[in-house]
């Protein structure tokens, strides 16, 4: 067994770090879009609009039931063949699209469950003062559902950050893509992928810290 080339690894750290922004940008954009879409899907699942409900169920079933990598390939390589307008779709856009739809499907289910977990008295109180359904959702139910759903949603965000690594298969040079290129030049595969693994790990750990603070904030109203 050969020794690890620590000098090479140290030199690689700033190279990989310079791709943290593109990774975070993809994850951040996908998270915001997925949250918005998931909230809409979840609300629809709760109020069940005829016909639309069937479409939403189908959407969630497909995007939960197929691998993320397959979905990314469908968007990047497949769709442009059907829709010439998408011929110039770039890898980042396709990745954000894929991550958004994939994770929205998962998040919709956990938000739906969280909405169902909000006490019935909260719905009745909102109705009793004459709120419309939209007002009730936005002002009373979703904020309380957010608290219930927060831990699982942060887990999905962690998954999403790691999921951005698949974008390198669409030709995007993000952290994983950069590590792959470096490794291909130096043949030091173990070192290169170990560096990128540790950087992902640190990012996720940092996020876990944020998670703790977020949950404290969301629980503020419920502390005695």
């Amino acid at each position: 067994m050969r020794a690890l080339d620590f000098d090479y690894m140290l030199g690689l750290v700033p190279v990989i770090l310079s791709y943290v922004p593109i990774t975070l940008a993809m994850a951040g954009a996908s998270m915001v879009l997925a949250l918005a879409l998931a909230s809409l899907l979840a609300v629809e699942r709760v109020i069940r609009v005829p016909v639309l409900d069937n479409l939403v169920v189908l959407f969630i079933s497909f995007f939960r039931g197929t691998p993320l990598l397959v979905q990314l390939f469908l968007f990047y390589f497949g769709l442009p063949q059907l829709l010439p307008a998408l011929a110039n779709i770039n890898g980042v856009t396709a990745a954000v699209m894929g991550l958004t739809l994939h994770f929205a499907a998962y998040m919709a289910e956990s938000i739906r469950a969280a909405i169902a977990g909000v006490d019935r008295s909260q719905w009745e109180a909102a109705q009793s003062i004459g709120m419309t359904q939209a007002q009730m959702m936005r002002r009373i139910i979703l904020p309380q559902a957010a608290r219930i759903a927060a831990p699982t949603l942060v887990n999905y965000f962690i998954d999403m950050i790691k999921g951005t690594s698949l974008a390198f298969t669409l030709g995007v040079t993000e952290m994983m893509g950069a590590a792959q290129k470096e490794a291909a030049g130096s043949f030091l595969y173990f070192e290169a992928f170990l560096v990128v693994a540790v950087i992902y790990w640190i990012m996720v750990e940092a996020l876990s810290q944020v998670q703790g603070r977020l949950e404290t904030r969301l629980n503020k109203a419920f502390a005695r």
């Binding site: 909260q122 909102a126 109705q127 009793s128 003062i129 709120m131 502390a223």
Partner: protein, 249 residues
């Protein structure tokens, strides 16, 4: 003026309200009593469509809603003329005492925030909870939560306040403060319909007492008639039973 005509409601085929007719004058205090499971709460909840009645008409002021044909906007309009006080308080858990009261003013009545806040603070002073304005419900006692609940309903400026067993979920030590607040609300010639098991309170606050049994109004009249000279056998038996339980004469 509130007018209820032929109100019926069934739950899964089991009739709970079997045709309720009731007229209530402006400023009148009506207390509804009767055995449990007899439709008292359902009557109250039907009046603002928390339970959707099967048939009948509800008139509040110049608004008449036909239960069988009520549109969404009918229901909203009716709810905006009625304030509801829940047995389990049902304060918005994600909002402070002050925000609980402001919510309807800002979101439903579209009043400016500053005005709503001023109104909320003045209601909190009336309920004796000014210093709890920024507390969340979880940090309040049952009695304090229910006082905020009453404040939330008061602030609406509704034509009628509906109280659904407002003290039944409270520890005995908090019942007095809630009843006191209701007495103060009553003094302001607010129309009130109250479902309660507090017979002494009913006798004291009611202009009229309505006794329900089996989904119907069996007897109605001033407290002196209902409590001192009840005519119907079921009412007599009910009063005897409650009297024993409450240790009163």
């Amino acid at each position: 003026m509130i007018s209820i005509r032929g109100l019926t409601k069934s739950f899964r085929g089991a009739p709970v309200l079997r045709g309720i007719d009731l007229d209530i004058e402006d400023g009148e205090k009506v207390v509804v009593i009767g055995p449990s499971g007899t439709g008292k709460s359902t009557l109250l909840r039907s009046l603002n469509f928390l339970d959707v009645p099967d048939a009948g008409q509800i008139t509040v002021g110049d608004l008449t809603v036909d239960a069988a044909r009520a549109s969404k906007s009918d229901i909203l309009a009716l709810r905006r003329r009625t304030g509801f006080v829940f047995q389990n308080y049902a304060l918005f858990a994600n909002k402070t005492a002050k925000e609980n009261i402001m919510e309807a003013l800002v979101t439903v009545q579209k009043r400016p925030r500053a005005e709503a806040e001023e109104r909320a603070l003045s209601v909190l002073r009336e309920t004796g909870l000014a210093e709890k304005a920024d507390s969340y419900p979880a940090a309040l006692s049952g009695g304090q939560q229910q006082r905020v609940g009453i404040g939330r309903a008061m602030a609406l400026g509704a034509e009628v306040l509906l109280f659904d067993e407002p003290t039944s979920a409270l520890d005995p030590e908090w019942v007095g403060e809630v009843l006191d607040l209701m007495r103060r609300v009553a003094e302001k010639s607010q129309t009130m319909i109250i479902v309660t098991h507090e017979m002494q309170f009913a006798r004291e606050i009611a202009d009229r007492v309505v006794f329900m049994d089996g989904g119907k109004i069996v007897e109605a009249g001033p407290p002196s008639q209902i409590f001192d000279a009840p005519r119907d056998d079921r009412l007599r038996r009910f009063l005897k039973r409650v009297g024993r339980e409450q240790g009163a004469g």
